[in-house]
Amino acid sequence: MELRICHLYPDLLNLYGDRGNVTTLVRRAQWRGISVRVIEARLDDPVDPDASDLFFIGGGEDRQQRLAAPDLRDVKGPALREAAQAGAAILAVCGGYQLLGHYYRPADGPDLVGLGVLDLHTVHPGPGSRRIIGNIVVREAGAGRILVGFENHGGRTHLGPGARPIGTAIVGSGNNGQDRGEGAVWRSVYGTYLHGPLLPKNPWLADELVAAALRRRYGNTAGGVALEPLPDVEENRAAAAAAGRAGARGLSWH
């Protein structure tokens, strides 16, 4: 069995330790005896929608986002849309998250048109406005699992009816600082403001992405798609410590 990961713009959208997410996906698959192939897709590189089952896009500053946006839309967009429709997993963080929506309106300059894979748009409220910065703890909608991380964004994201938030911010602001929603999900496409190394401390989400990617390639019947649990001792300790630093206590860990 092979997990095929496509890391989009590894050298351009890599602001806050984003590659920690790819490292986590790779290791967690390997620890289960699954071989992994990582394909890096930079500016101008085309993407083959059948060659990868899991796509990762990190965050960047406005300057980098402006470089990536037209390439994402024109060079890689059709393939990514096709892959997402066909059940591939996508994780997009911060700037990448914003670019998966319909558009991003920066503090100055013209709108950046996004992919529209997620039904949302993002508006920067202006150069003088407060950035949303700090530790964040999110309770997942539904199963109630916990996500911990750090958010740092100027843009405010608003979801349309075609996407639902990943969860509710218990500590911190989330998408827009108003409705307490954090992130967006549609099929196996996840976008979030929990930037940088989100997956190391939230291994359940890493495993969900890996499982979705394997399902797409091997189907539910291929056997072995249900991932063996890992001990996650260090993961859970780090998540608990981070939640404690964020000011959330007494949460249970999965």
């Binding site: 920690g20 470089l67 300790r237």
Partner: protein, 467 residues
């Protein structure tokens, strides 16, 4: 100045000096910030007034990494040349720290005891510091991602520097790092005198490629990726944009023949104006070669003789926590501040150059002065330790995050020891050392201060304000 202004200035100086004395007597702290805040509140024009009375002018030093060490090295050079220096030596690098240094070196009549001002300046404070001091020389070292939670984005810091350079008096000399594409891009339109510095070669750089942490991969003019013929440190090196041709300019001051001696220092030849100055330093690592080259460039811009440059660099001792050697119950420990990805990678390289299978203590805090966001740990190449480190003791407020990072870097749990308590972590690491081995302590800023306080209680180091 009118009599009223004089009186206010005298009152401000008196208040600052009193506050500094009280702060030390009551052991409230180093007395490096509060006195200046009080003085500036009494006399808002104090910094401008006092700095204008320094006979040889003011030097400002800014950049993400190396401010303290560069300032120390330049202070040694100036003192070797016989100049009396007014210096915010303890690293209080906001306007309040500059005001403290000036006020505590002034007589009540406002005469300066010192001929030249030497101030390290926080990146974000640079525009205000330039406006207040009208410096004779500004030294710009580098721009790395650091504390993004505080500054937002590196481009915002760059924008502040652009504003600072716009108000720099035209007769001021700009000393800048030619090897840093972002810094060089900011400086290339400066109309006044410039003295760029850079490294002509770098040991261990053969085949070295840009790190994950590199910040300036794409041309600041046209957006194409830079091509490098030499990568020295982080995103610094010999670069050229294949799109618009923007490229590293040949610097006026260059370091050649660079040799790194592990944790024991480095040597090089600094070439400027047709003169070759051999220099050697006890400061370890390539980043310190950049720092002493920057200090030499600034000294030459002030007209200091080459002999004093060499003597000053040789006399430069490590600043607190930056290559400082401390006693750990009969064993040596080396404190190497590591506060952002580029700096941390360089510190790891320095450790591994010194020791084949080191015992390392890593202390990670997430307080404001460290940056509250520790995502950057995933941009540091801790994978370097995988095949070599005998043990890594982790401590600090985010010790668990560090342990997790090491797990994904391939270090098994048997080599990673989590010890939240700083004193306990020091003891644990000490117990792992073999005869003749040295401990490498890699802390973030406040973790360094914390460990230093513990070591000071044990009599191993001095308070930083006495330093």
């Amino acid at each position: 100045m009118r009599a009223w202004g004089r009186m206010r200035e005298a009152a401000a100086i008196a208040a600052a000096r009193l506050a500094a004395s009280l702060s030390r007597l009551t052991r409230m702290g180093g007395g490096t910030t509060l006195p200046g805040r009080i003085a500036a509140a009494i006399s808002p024009g104090l910094v401008a007034g006092l700095s204008s009375r320094l006979a040889r002018g003011v030097v400002l030093i800014s950049g993400t990494n190396g401010k303290t060490t560069t300032a120390r090295s330049l202070a040694e050079i100036l003192e070797a040349a016989g100049l009396a220096v007014v210096h915010n030596r303890a690293g209080a690098n906001l306007l309040s720290g500059i005001a403290t240094a000036l006020a505590t070196h002034a007589t009540l009549r406002g005469r300066m005891r010192g001929e030249v001002g030497l101030f390290e300046v926080d990146e974000a404070t640079l525009p205000a510091a330039v406006a207040a001091t009208r410096p004779r020389v500004v030294v710009l070292l580098n721009l790395f991602r650091d504390q993004l939670d505080r500054y937002g984005e590196i481009d915002l810091v760059a924008e502040r520097w652009r504003r600072a350079l716009a108000v720099l008096p035209p007769e001021s000399t700009l000393v800048y790092n030619a090897d840093d594409p972002l810094v060089a891009d900011l400086c290339r339109d400066h109309a006044g005198p410039v003295r760029a510095f850079g490294l002509e070669e770098a040991p261990l750089s053969e085949g070295r490629t840009l790190e994950h942490a590199a910040d300036a991969r794409y041309c600041y003019r046209c957006g194409r990726p830079y091509e490098y013929t030499l990568v020295t440190l982080g995103h610094m090196g010999h670069y050229r944009c294949p799109g618009c041709g923007a490229a590293r300019a040949t610097p006026q001051v260059c370091a050649r023949g660079v040799h790194l001696h592990g944790a024991d220092g480095a040597s090089a030849t600094i070439v400027a104006d047709g003169t070759a100055i051999p220099v050697s330093t006890v400061l370890p690592g390539l980043y310190n070669v950049y720092d002493v080259t920057a200090a030499a460039s600034a000294a030459l811009a002030l007209g200091i003789a080459p002999a004093a440059v060499g003597r000053g660099i040789a006399a430069t001792a490590p600043a607190f926590g930056r290559g400082e050697r401390v006693d750990l119950g009969g064993r040596e420990a080396l404190l190497l501040l590591a506060k952002n990805p580029a700096g941390f990678n360089e510190v790891l390289r320095t450790v591994l150059l010194a020791e084949a299978s080191p015992v390392v203590l890593i202390a990670i805090n997430d307080l404001i002065a460290d940056g509250r966001d520790i995502s950057w740990l995933w941009d540091v190449d801790f994978e370097m330790l995988r095949d070599s480190a005998r043990a890594v003791v982790v401590t600090g407020l985010r010790a668990e995050d560090m342990a997790l990072r090491l797990k994904y870097a391939g270090l098994g749990a048997e080599r990673v020891i989590v010890e939240r308590d700083g004193g306990g972590a020091l003891d644990r690491a000490r117990s792992l050392l073999r005869e003749g081995e040295r401990l490498y302590i890699l802390p973030t800023y406040t973790a360094m201060l914390h460990l230093r306080r513990i070591l000071a209680r044990r009599g191993a180091v001095r308070g930083f304000w006495k330093d």
